[in-house]
Symmetry: C2
Subunit: 426 residues, 2 copies
Amino acid sequence: MNPRSIPRIVIIGCGFGGLEAAKALAGKPVQVTLIDRCNHHLFQPLLYQVATAGLSAPSIAAPIRHIFRKQRNITVLMGEITAIDTMRCIVSIEGADDITYDYLIVAAGATHSYFGNDAWAAHAPGLKTLEDAFAIRRRVLLAFEHAERETNNERRRAWLTFAVIGAGATGVELAGTLAEIAHHTLSGEFRRFDSSAARVLLLEGGERVLPAFPAELSEKARRQLKKLGVEVRTGARVTSVSDSGVEITESSGTSRIEARTIMWAAGVAASPLGKTLGTALDRAGRVMVQPDLSLPDYPQVSVIGDLAHIECDGKAVPGVSPAAKQMGRCSARNILARIEGRSTSTFRYIDYGTLATIGRKSAVAVLGTIKLWGMPAWLVWLFAHIYFLIGFRNRITVMIDWGWAYFSFQRYARIVIGPWKSERRS
Amino acid sequence: MNPRSIPRIVIIGCGFGGLEAAKALAGKPVQVTLIDRCNHHLFQPLLYQVATAGLSAPSIAAPIRHIFRKQRNITVLMGEITAIDTMRCIVSIEGADDITYDYLIVAAGATHSYFGNDAWAAHAPGLKTLEDAFAIRRRVLLAFEHAERETNNERRRAWLTFAVIGAGATGVELAGTLAEIAHHTLSGEFRRFDSSAARVLLLEGGERVLPAFPAELSEKARRQLKKLGVEVRTGARVTSVSDSGVEITESSGTSRIEARTIMWAAGVAASPLGKTLGTALDRAGRVMVQPDLSLPDYPQVSVIGDLAHIECDGKAVPGVSPAAKQMGRCSARNILARIEGRSTSTFRYIDYGTLATIGRKSAVAVLGTIKLWGMPAWLVWLFAHIYFLIGFRNRITVMIDWGWAYFSFQRYARIVIGPWKSERRS
């Protein structure tokens, strides 16, 4: 324990988990340092909308220090964590002074996983940060520009073929929105081809789309995707990804798809910070935490959110934002309990439901025992997402952007930052 | 002349001049190819708002092909022009097929000029494109983040010193807005320093700010800047720019200002494409055009906007957006006249007035013989800029963003894209 009277708490990461933990500690007799590599909290469930030019970046991101401007006991630092010394209770930040903690909450989240094929990353970007979203937006919009410049039909077809790998929520959202862009948004804007000739493929190694949902809703989702114009291929394992296309292996054999724009939504891996904590990890690299979210050997360290592996009622808690938020609040409560000498409480995950949007007026939802699809599910999704967006200001502009997009079929943010550059692909 | 019946017109650049020229040719019996290196038309007068985190990029940019989606005689291509062959009437695009024209409008605009000190560009970015605006936004926001991480007082002071070089309209806008950010927007958000301690310097080599305005309004602008907290230094010639500060020479001698964030608003140079046209240029690299905006030896080529040098009533037409728009319309009219065998008309510049904003509730304006400053000038500026913003949709969101900013003192777009990176400066 430190000699000073006020306990020092360090929180690493300001995603949903870290944000909720910091909020729960605001105004308490503790001194909090919240460290993130970005200057903003990102509303990640809408990130695919930035990638597909529907929303601007500031609409789904809030400056962290603005959120906590009135919480005088919270200091926000921007920086990259280089090491965590759980023995000596020290966090090292790249290019800045080390920070000593009495309690630590690690909420560093997850990143893409290419299942050992890291070379694929250059050809098939994933979607975790605003930078990723801008990269995907750029690729998608420039693919159509390439198609308009191209005079060779075969090469044009490759520019107009979009492959999304992985049919979880992000993959389904991306594929559905891309089909909408090709068939509606860009309709009539090109002179040398018809944008609705674009192919959007959703490639999934497993047997069904949205595997986290009941089989019945997976089937509904597949039909809605088809209606939007997405070619869904399940049981299609990707065996190779290059600049110009993907190779897939299906029960019928191996084939190649010529596609100049490929997106990766197939896998996530826990943050590499987990490995530095000196404690047991699961196979996905997530930290095995105690029922109160602390580490077995270091009770002053808690791990939460996508980086934590914990089971409730015999089931692993899923890597979704409501779970991260609940863990954030629980870890803060437990640290306050330890400070006051009370016993900590066990984390309990409350599942309010699961939602995935597919495209215009289509989504699937499980709310307790209720299953929804189509327009009703889409309305639930719409209001839930606007409601949970941080900051009154953002909610208004997102509603305007969406209202406009809905009635005009247009997308607000079709802006490629920076000039034409051929260095990307020829 | 080409053997086909429909004349082919190529327009290079879709700034204010190129956009107006293309609009004037829409629906006419001509075939237009509009080429720009960006996919969007940029409302450049508000670019400083993107740089200073007040507006998101899509608020001031409209996809070019969306603007012309219903004009079937206009083809939009994204690409970089590599050569113009005025003898053979061919435009070359990097990585794409050459295009032959019957008439050509060159509206390639201007870029920054560092007066021969190109090495300064790395330390003092200018503001011409969205990419520039993002770079400046990143530098400004990260400077405050650096200051919060910094434990050495002297180094922190350098992070909290912002130098804007050049007191034309852009420099005045940037300096005024930066002062507002330091004194209002970020107020109370840092724990280790007071953001209002930040210094904003506006360095101008000439004798007064806003030299394009009457001396009386320059004086008003200087007072308004001072009130906002900007240190204005006129007669201060910048002799050196580095990573860590600027050196200036004044009548009192040479001195050095330690500043980690430096912005360049001191000079523009005409696009280098001017040199490739095989015709006379003025000292600033602008193309000397005939009274009807065509080239002396190539009547089928017109040059307009910031790249053109033309005099009206014995005065050089200024490089401002209303002049570019008027030239765009005139060049289109004259090409149609040539096609129909009519004689071309002389370009006449109509000066509706000049506006420059300084910050919250302060601006200066000359409208004919009327001079305005303070709140009245600011209101004129506000409504003029919202009115001229392209696209009904953008106007609404810009109004909401500004309304919000005005009453809350907040700025919407305080988002740094991408994580903390130390490679920029240590």
